[in-house]
């Protein structure tokens, strides 16, 4: 039976010299005192969500049309090939795209100072789609890297226009910004559809861009998403400055932040992440909206604490929905975007109706 004493090295005969650190813990059982600014409260949900994500990732490796059981990995070369050519890339792609989408949404909400906007509804993803479409028409043979770069630039342009117009709306009317975003995203999306129709590329837009899914992900076709992870890390690096930006232009300047430059950096983070996910897996809705909003309800708006949690929760949501999509009508698949449409809408209703924690 396990007892607390048994875990103390000094009490077992094998270890001759007990470490002084253990002695301290044993004597008082005291936790170090924490002020209100340390992240003790944020650590628990962080560890919990990381465990859930890890469990889902393992499950994802063994869910699919081809049967694959853990034992076969040591003996069967075909099983190993399936794992490294398809299952592992697909799992990683869902994790990378999910965390990127959630962080893109969080940063966009910070810049717009509004909780109800996200890149896939307010024009960023539609801008990226426009970029991909233009490359496909003008240079059909362009590499996926060129497509990503053009999509990023187009997304940046579309988001800049959205943000400069959104900042002119009165802050006393918080629902004007997302309404404007929906209309703006709809207009850009309509332009994409019109151009695609004219160029006879409607199938590309409707099937590939507008309904994100992971069934086409293989080794060699998702690696660009690692760049999205780099931008998530960049967001974490400037987390304090982004939090200050969320307090408004004047407070930011008062604290010595270069407000305009931080807005530009945030825009680049949002646009590049969105463009990468649109290029690799297509548009996946709701993740950027519900994940940051739910995390904000629970742990608040201090981005240094929320960014890791938002990234992990976004990955968990997308991976979980992808697994559901694989199982719902097995052996056929439901695209992750469709599953998220249902799950995300329910989660959004929860965001609207749950009472926020008062801290």
């Amino acid at each position: 039976m396990w007892t607390p004493e048994a875990s103390i090295p000094g009490d077992s005969g094998a270890t001759k010299s007990p470490s002084p650190m253990w002695g301290g813990v044993r004597g008082g059982g005291m936790r170090p005192q924490r002020g209100p600014l340390t992240s003790a409260t944020a650590l628990r949900p962080f560890a919990g969500s990381l465990a859930v994500l890890a469990a889902l990732a393992v499950a994802s490796l063994f869910v699919g049309v081809g049967t694959l059981n853990p034992g076969a990995l040591v003996s069967d070369p075909d099983a190993v090939a399936l794992m490294f050519a398809s299952r592992l890339p697909r799992t990683l792609a869902a994790i990378l795209a999910g965390s990127g989408l959630a962080i893109g949404g969080l940063v966009m909400q910070t810049l717009a100072r509004n909780r109800f906007v996200e890149p896939t509804t307010a024009g960023t993803a539609q801008g990226a789609a426009l970029g991909i479409l233009i490359v496909t028409i003008l240079a059909p043979g362009a590499s996926i890297l060129v497509k990503t770069v053009v999509a990023s630039i187009a997304a940046l342009g579309a988001t800049s226009v959205f943000l400069s117009l959104a900042h002119r709306l009165p802050p006393t009317q918080p629902f004007l910004v997302p309404l404007f975003g929906l209309i703006y995203g709809g207009v850009v999306g309509a332009a994409v559809t019109y151009i695609a129709w004219q160029a006879d590329l409607l199938q590309l837009v409707e099937v590939w861009i507008h309904n994100g899914e992971f069934s086409g992900i293989l080794r060699g076709r998702y690696e660009l998403l690692w760049i999205a992870l780099a931008f998530v890390a960049l967001a974490l690096w400037v987390a304090d400055r982004l939090t200050i930006v969320s307090l408004g232009r004047e407070t930011s300047i008062g604290l010595g932040i270069d407000y305009a430059r931080m807005l530009q950096l945030g825009l680049v983070i949002v646009s590049v992440i969105s463009a990468l996910t649109v290029v690799v897996v297509g548009i996946i809705p709701f993740v950027g909206l519900v994940v940051p909003a739910l995390v904000s309800r629970i742990v608040g708006d201090n981005l240094r604490q929320t960014i890791p949690l938002v990234a992990i929760s976004g990955a968990t949501l997308v991976l979980g929905c992808d697994i559901i999509g694989r199982l719902l009508r097995f052996p056929y698949e439901v695209p992750v975007g469709t599953v998220l449409g249902v799950v995300g809408a329910l989660a959004f209703l929860a965001v609207l109706h749950l009472r926020p924690r008062h801290g």
Binding site: G35, P171, L247, G248, G254, L255, R357
Partner: protein, 252 residues
């Protein structure tokens, strides 16, 4: 402490400030007063680098506002404006802690934590340090914002109508704290005030603007005479004396 020379400012061709020159000495409370549209907030925004300086020069503690890096100025001058913080889910302790950002760049030292606790205590916020800002009343939120500006630890503080959302109790409380900071810590405080009686009670000097021009800059008791108040506000008001203190009967 604050040198303003030949400052003019125009918005879309309409002059908002014209040829303002004044020199505010270090220490004490200076009130900026004047009727609506006089240019008080514009002048304060120019001092605070929230608006770009078009003509003239402003320097604070020898640092030119136009030519000094913003993060260096943030260690010299703290500003408080009417930002909308309504939906922020930062905790009060975190918000006040961001006042240390110009010094710590986000890595709080023990000294920073000490100063944050100090600011929370000074503004009677210790009990709500763990509450989210959006759950506070307007007055509490305003106090948290002032506490953040105080926590910045600057010699000079610029405040734009900080009494706007406060009831009489907290308005008086805030003015007393600011007076105390000037007396005890030698802070230089410039504050835009609507109510001339708050200026009369708590300010050492009054800067009065009207239609973008400097009307008077003098010791408080020198400004509080009927002729000069009429010059500033455009109508005659009586001044009573209660316990040797002037009280402007501006509402009659």
């Amino acid at each position: 402490m604050i040198e303003i020379e030949d400052v003019s400012f125009a918005r879309q061709g309409t002059p908002v400030l014209q040829d303002i020159s004044l020199s505010i000495p270090a220490g004490g409370v200076t009130a900026l007063v004047g009727p609506n549209g006089a240019g008080k907030s514009t002048l304060l925004s120019l001092m605070a680098r929230l608006l770009p300086l078009e003509t003239g020069r402003i320097s604070i503690a020898g640092k030119s506002v136009a030519h000094t890096r913003s993060d260096a100025l943030a260690r010299t001058v703290a500003i408080l404006r009417q930002d909308t913080l309504v939906s922020s889910r930062l905790r009060v302790g975190e918000l006040v802690g961001f006042g240390r950002f110009p010094h710590s760049r986000g890595r709080l030292t023990d000294e920073d934590r000490h100063l944050i606790d100090d600011a929370l205590r000074e503004f009677d916020l210790t009990g709500m340090a763990d509450r989210f800002v959006e759950t506070l009343s307007g007055g509490q939120r305003q106090r948290a914002m002032v506490a953040m500006a105080y926590c910045q630890g600057c010699d000079c503080m610029l405040l734009d109508e900080p009494l706007n959302n406060l009831d009489m109790f907290y308005a008086r409380e805030l003015m007393r704290i600011l007076r105390d900071l000037a007396d005890r810590q030698g802070k230089t405080i410039v504050i835009v005030l609507h109510d001339i009686n708050h200026a009369a009670t708590y300010a050492d000097r009054i800067v009065a603007l009207r239609d973008g021009r400097l009307v008077s800059f003098d010791r408080t008791d020198q400004v509080l005479v009927p002729e000069r108040l009429e010059q500033i506000f455009g109508y005659r008001m009586e001044i009573a004396t209660v316990d040797g203190q002037p009280v402007v009967l501006h509402h009659r």
